[in-house]
C-alpha cells in the first residue's frame, strides 16, 4: 500500500482526430486497466439490426485470431483478460461497444506489457475481420444472425426486465426510441455477408468514435494507442440528429399482454418533457428519487411496506429521451388496487405532499449513488459517455452540488410537466 492514490476521476481528452475522440481516465486505484471503444449511431430501422449483428460477427475472429477459440486462448495467455462487445441504447443513440480489461503488469510478473498486447487484439478484432471473397465469412454471419434472433426471442424469459422495456417500446412505437437495440427478426432475415460488409464500411468509416483508456497507463502506451487509431481509414463523419424530449399526451394508452405467468407486472410510462442538458434535469432526478428511487421512496413505502402488494416496485428515468417508467410485480388480482396506490403517490408529488424525510433522504441517496460510481472503472466510463451524449460537462461533484440546490418547489414544478402516456400490464392467460 505504498502507492499514493491519484485524485478521483481525472478524465482528460488526449486526442481528437477523424471523428475519433480519445479520453484517458488516469487512476491507480484499481488492479486492472481497461480500454473501451464506442461507435455511436442514431437508432433507425435501417441500421439497428446491422449494428447489432456486426459486433457479433467481428468477435468470431480476426486475421491472426480466426476463431473464438483462438481469441479466448490468447485472452487466457494475457492473464485472464476479458473481452466483450455488444450494443446498448442511450436515448435514441445506438452504441456499439468493444471492451477489454486486463490486470496491471505489476500483478502479471512485472514485464508482461499487457496494455499494448490487449489493445492490439481489440484493434485487430475491430479492423481486420475474417473475410472470404472480400466479404464476411458466410458461416460466421449466418450463425450469428441465428443467435441474434434467438436473443431477441429470449427477451420474454426475464419477465422483470421485459415488463419495463415493453412498456417504453409500446409507448414510443412511432419514434426511433421504440426500436429494440438488438434489432428485429424481419430485418435480420434480410442481412447477408455482402450487405453486412458494406455496412461495416459505413460503420468503420463514418460513425463517431469515443475511446476511453482507464487505469495506470503511461504516456508511451497512450501514444501507441493513438497512433494506431490514426491508421483507421475514415471518411465524412456522420452527424447524429438531435433527440426531442418534448411530447404531450392527448390520451393515455392501455396495453395488456397475456403470458403463462404466476405474477403480473404493472408498468406505467411517462413523458417528463425535461431536457437532459437543462438545469431542470437535476430537479427531475430529485423528483424520481422521492417517487420511486429507493427504500425511502413513496412507491416502496406505500406499495410494498404499507400495503404489502409487491416485493419490488420502483420508478426509473430514461435520461436521454426524457422518459420515466414505474414498474412493479404484483398479484394478478391486485391490478386496480396497486394502480390506485401508485396514482395517489403521483398526486401527492404534484401537490407537494412530501415529508422532510422523503425529501432529504432522496437527495442523500443521489449523492451516495454518484459518489459510489467512482469505485467502478466501468461506471466511471459510462458516466463520462453519458455526459457526452447528453451534451453536458458535469463532473460527479458538479451533479451533487446541483442536486443539493433543488428545492421542494422545484420538485412540484417538475411534477407538473410530467405526463402519463402508457399503462402496460403483463398478466396470465
Amino acid at each position: 500500500m505504498t502507492n499514493t492514490v491519484l485524485s478521483e476521476n481525472q478524465i482528460s481528452e488526449i486526442a481528437s482526430f477523424n471523428g475519433i475522440k480519445v479520453y484517458q481516465i488516469k487512476t491507480n486505484k484499481f488492479k486492472t486497466n481497461s480500454i473501451n471503444i464506442f461507435f455511436h449511431d442514431n437508432l433507425s430501422r435501417e441500421n439497428a439490426s446491422k449494428n447489432a449483428l456486426l459486433p457479433a460477427v467481428l468477435r468470431r475472429g480476426s486475421v491472426n485470431f480466426p476463431t473464438i477459440q483462438d481469441i479466448s486462448l490468447y485472452l487466457e495467455e494475457l492473464y485472464g483478460a476479458a473481452f466483450d462487445c455488444g450494443v446498448t441504447k442511450k436515448g435514441e443513440n445506438q452504441i456499439v461497444q468493444f471492451y477489454l480489461d486486463f490486470i496491471s503488469d505489476k500483478y502479471a510478473n512485472g514485464k508482461a506489457d499487457l496494455t499494448n498486447k490487449a489493445f492490439d487484439l481489440l484493434f485487430e478484432i475491430i479492423t481486420q475481420p475474417v473475410t472470404e471473397n472480400g466479404v464476411f465469412k458466410k458461416e460466421y454471419m449466418e450463425q450469428e444472425a441465428k443467435k441474434l434472433k434467438e436473443l431477441i426471442e429470449s427477451r420474454v424469459n426475464d419477465k422483470v426486465q421485459y415488463g419495463v422495456d415493453k412498456c417504453l417500446e409500446v409507448m414510443c412505437e412511432n419514434e426511433p426510441f421504440g426500436i429494440f437495440d438488438y434489432g428485429n427478426i424481419e430485418d435480420i432475415n434480410k442481412i447477408d455477408a455482402a450487405n453486412l460488409h458494406d455496412h461495416y464500411k459505413y460503420f468503420l468509416e463514418t460513425l463517431p468514435v469515443y475511446v476511453f483508456i482507464s487505469g495506470d497507463i503511461v504516456d508511451e502506451q497512450i501514444n501507441y494507442i493513438v497512433d494506431k487509431l490514426k491508421k483507421i481509414n475514415r471518411g465524412n463523419i456522420k452527424t447524429l440528429p438531435q433527440v426531442s424530449v418534448e411530447k404531450h399526451v392527448s390520451e393515455v394508452r392501455e396495453v395488456t399482454e397475456h403470458m403463462n405467468v404466476n405474477q403480473a407486472k404493472l408498468s406505467i410510462g411517462f413523458r417528463t418533457n425535461t431536457d437532459p442538458k437543462s438545469e431542470e434535469y437535476y430537479k427531475l432526478m430529485v423528483y424520481n428519487s422521492i417517487l420511486g428511487g429507493g427504500l425511502h421512496s413513496k412507491l416502496f413505502q406505500n406499495v410494498r411496506e404499507k400495503n404489502a402488494m409487491a416485493y419490488y416496485v420502483f420508478s426509473r428515468l430514461e435520461k436521454f429521451k426524457g422518459l420515466m417508467v414505474i414498474s412493479g410485480g404484483i398479484e394478478i388480482s391486485n391490478k386496480d388496487k396497486a394502480y390506485d396506490v401508485i396514482m395517489k403517490q403521483l398526486e401527492d408529488m404534484k401537490n407537494g405532499v412530501i415529508s422532510d424525510y422523503e425529501f432529504e433522504a432522496s437527495i442523500k441517496s443521489i449523492e451516495t449513488g454518484i459518489n459510489s460510481l467512482k469505485d467502478s472503472q466501468l461506471q466511471v466510463v459510462d458516466f463520462n459517455l453519458s455526459q457526452i451524449i447528453a451534451g453536458t460537462q458535469d463532473s460527479p461533484d458538479d451533479i451533487i452540488e446541483k442536486v443539493k440546490k433543488v428545492t421542494r418547489q422545484d420538485v412540484i414544478d417538475v411534477a407538473k410537466k410530467i405526463e402519463m402516456d402508457t399503462v402496460y400490464f403483463l398478466t396470465s392467460k
Binding site: M1, K31, A82, Q143, K159, Y311, Y312, E331, T368, D375
Partner: protein, 427 residues
Amino acid sequence: MDIKTIEYKNIDEVMHTYEHKSGLKCFVIPKKGYSKKFATFATHYGSINNEFIVPEETDVTRVPDGIAHFLEHKLFEQKDGSVMDKFSQLGSNPNAYTSFAQTAYLFSCTDKFEDNFSLLLDFVQNPYITEESVEKEKGIIGQEIRMYDDNANWRVFFNLLDAFYEKNPVKIDIAGSIESISKINKDILYKCYNTFYHPSNMIIVVVGDVDAAKVFEQIEKTITVSASKPEIKRIFPDESDKLNKSYVEQNLAVSMPLFQMGYKDVGFASKGMDCLMRETAVKILLDMIMGKSSKLYNELYNEGLINNSFEFDYSIEENYAYSAFGGESKDPLKVKERLLEEISSLRDKGLSMETYERIRRANKGRLVKQLNSVERISHNFVSVYFKEINLFDYMEVYDKITFEYVNKVFEEHFSADRLAMSVIKPT
C-alpha cells in the same frame, strides 16, 4: 485489544482481524481511495438449517422452509419503525441476503460510516417481531416467491438440485413456498433468532477506506454479550451418493429450452484448504473441458447447440457439492451426449498440461480483478468464511495446486452416473 494484521504483498492487500470476547470474529480490509464503505454482519445460518438441536436442549427442532429468509426480512423492523428509514436518512443503502448457508446484513455508504455501522450493529442484535408484522410480511414475501416462480433461470437451477438430492434441504427454494411460510409465526422466528444469532456464530466484515482500530473499538463498545455459546447441533438428512433423478423437466413461458446439468460431487472435504483445492481444481477442469478456449465449446457453439448464455460453475458447502453448467439450447440432450463423448475422449487421451497451466494462470488473474470491488470482496469473504477459508487463501491455492491433483479430481468428479440434467421447455 488484540488486533492481528496480515499483509498480502503480492496483491497489495492488507487484512486486520480481531476476536471479540463473545466469540464474534471481526475483519477489516482497507481499500485506500475508495468512496464506498461496505460493512456486513453475517450469521452462519441459511436456508438449509431447517433442523437443529438448540444448545442445552435435547429435542430436535424442525422449522418451516424459508424461515431463515423470513427472519432476514423481519429483522429490519424495529420498535420505532423500519431501520431502513434510518439508513435512508443517512443516505446509505442497507440490504440483506439469505443463501443456503448464511444470512448477511449489510450497508454501503460514502459518508457517516460510524453512524451507519452503529445502526447495523444495533438492529441485527435487537429483533422486534410482532404477529401483525409477520402477517404483513407474508404478502411481500409471497410476491417474491411468485417472482421466482416465473424466473426460468432460477427454476432450472433448483430443479437440478432436486435431481441431485433426495432429501438434502439445499433443494428447497431459499424463500420457501407460499404454503410453508404460512406456518411461520413470531415464536418460531424468535427461536431461530436466539439459536443462530449469537455473536459466536457470526462475523463482521468491513471493506473500504476505514481505520481498522476505530472499527474494532466501536464493536468492542457496542457488543455487550461476553460469553461464547455452546455449539448448535445442525441436523442434515443422510443422503446417498446416487442421483435422486437423472432428468427433471418443467414448462414455463420461455422462447426456447433452457438447461442446467452437472455432476453431483461425493467424497469431498467441506472445510479448509482441502475444500478450496477441490473447488479450484474443478473450476480449472470446467474451463479446460467447456470454457471458450475449449474444443467442445467451439463445436457446440458453431453447431448452434449453445449460445452466449452458456455458463458453468462449481459449488461446495458442508453437505453438498456439485458442478452446474448450462444455458439456452434447442437440443439440451444433444449437448449432454456431446459432453459425455468429450469427457470420455479426454479420459483416453489424458488432459493437456499446457492447457492446464494456461488456465491456472488466467484464473489467478481473474481473481486479482475481483479485488477491484468492495462488494465482491465482502460477498466472497462471507461466502467462504464459514467453510474456514479466508478469501486471500485463494491466491495461495493457485500456487499450490498441481497438475497431478487436478487429474485426480478429474477422475473423481466427472462420473457419468452422477450427471443429472434439468430442462425448462416453452409452454
